[in-house]
Amino acid sequence: MPDAGNPTSLDKATILGIVRDQLAEILEKSPEEIPEDISFSDLGADSLALIELVEALEENLATYAAGFHIDDEDLEGLLSVRDAVDYVAAKLQVS
């Protein structure tokens, strides 16, 4: 169980779990239906769903890094679950 408020306690597997859980809730799917390498378009996530994901991630990850924010201009480069995980990991300097 990672420590809330401590980004160093996060690893990529945990971030993947968070991204999948949030996406699952937004798209009404189970997390198991969301593989790491799937694109958002193949998941049926439209632009509004992605904004929902971004807002959910910001809220969820703020417990690890206060004020965690995803820049709007970076959104265009996030095309898949893996992109989102890599982006968050890089932003939080998680290896």
């Binding site: 009404e28 049926g44 632009s47 509004l48 904004i51 929902e52 807002e55 709007d72």
Partner: protein, 318 residues
């Protein structure tokens, strides 16, 4: 506070809703742009989402806009509903991101009542929220619209039709055919089969379900055709003294019909599937349209539409 005739007509309509309907209305907007609020309560904000702003992005960027603040009032229990004549996409995005979806709802949809002479209005879903849909989404839209018609119009078992290019179940796109199969299996819905474009007005059913792209095209086509017909009739009446004399008799009967068909009298479209009430009024709303939209929002609140939708949609059905 948006719309082609904002802020004047919006504020006037709100004032009329207070005076004539006894509603409590809060205006949300930039005070410097609003002018005289006619004695109504104002929640001030500093930003405006323009009609041509990107819906989802603008909600992220303009957190102190009237749309976002209005949705937050509903989320925080300070208002029972929000009404907007502004950017439709941004209204939906604000409501979705701030109020959230009801559990189990894949995507909210726009339900638009269309006048149906001699019976309660026919409700078309989706009228434009989701351009691309799956059969499961259309089934959910049908369930939500059916619940809405029961709660709002008091129809005990609303009949549901699926918009297609023929009445036979084999007609239509793969989406339509797959949706037909799913709807036919749902015992709790009064699904009567496919309907065609000519069944929009007058409609033999209480609900017509379709994807948001088709629904929006159908709705705008209908609106344009009706405007054309009424304009043509008025033009013919002005042809000569004889037609003007005939028109003076006929108009007494024609104008009420035209009035029933105009968007101003309908009260706008409803977003179904949110954890709150949001009514989207026509972009060209005048005071009458805003008053009616506020009336409809109030009626939805009184009828407990959101709670009834919550009971209708359960995650295990998706």
């Amino acid at each position: 506070m948006g719309g082609d005739f904002a802020p004047g007509e919006i504020i006037l309509g709100a004032r009329q809703a207070v005076d004539e309907l006894g509603l409590s209305v809060i205006l949300v907007g930039v005070p410097e742009l609003m002018g005289d609020p006619l004695g109504l309560d104002v929640v001030a904000c500093t930003e405006v989402i323009a009609m041509d702003d990107d819906p989802a992005a603008s909600v992220r960027k303009k957190k102190d806009s009237s749309l976002v603040r209005a949705a937050e009032l509903v989320r925080d229990g300070k208002a029972s509903a929000m009404v907007s004549a502004g950017n439709t996409g941004a209204t939906m995005a604000s409501a979705l991101l701030r109020m959230g979806r009801l559990p189990g709802v894949v995507r909210p949809c726009i339900a638009t009542p269309i006048p149906n002479p001699g019976r309660t209005p026919m409700v078309m879903v989706d009228a434009g929220a989701n351009a691309e849909c799956t059969p499961e989404m259309l089934v959910q839209f049908a369930q939500m619209a059916s619940t809405f018609v029961k709660a709002h119009f008091g129809v005990s078992s609303p009949s549901v039709g699926l918009l297609s290019i023929g009445e036979e179940s084999t007609k239509g796109t793969p989406l339509v055919k797959d949706t037909h199969k799913l709807l036919a299996e749902l015992r709790e819905l009064n699904f009567v089969g496919n309907v065609e474009g000519r069944d929009l007005v007058p409609s033999p059913v209480d609900v017509i379900v379709t994807d948001g792209f088709t629904g929006n095209v159908a709705l705008k086509t209908l609106e344009g055709a009706l405007k054309f017909i009424f304009a043509t009739i008025l033009k013919v009446i002005e042809t000569n003294d004889e037609t003007r004399a005939a028109g003076s008799v006929l108009l007494e009967y024609l104008l009420p019909v035209a009035g029933k068909m105009t968007p101003e009298n309908q009260g706008g479209a409803m977003l179904l599937g949110l954890d709150g009430i949001c009514v989207i009024s026509h972009g060209s709303s005048n005071a009458l349209a805003i008053k009616n939209a506020l009336r409809v929002a109030s009626e939805m609140d009184a009828a407990g539409v959101v709670e009834k939708l919550r009971l209708t949609i359960r995650p295990d059905q998706v």
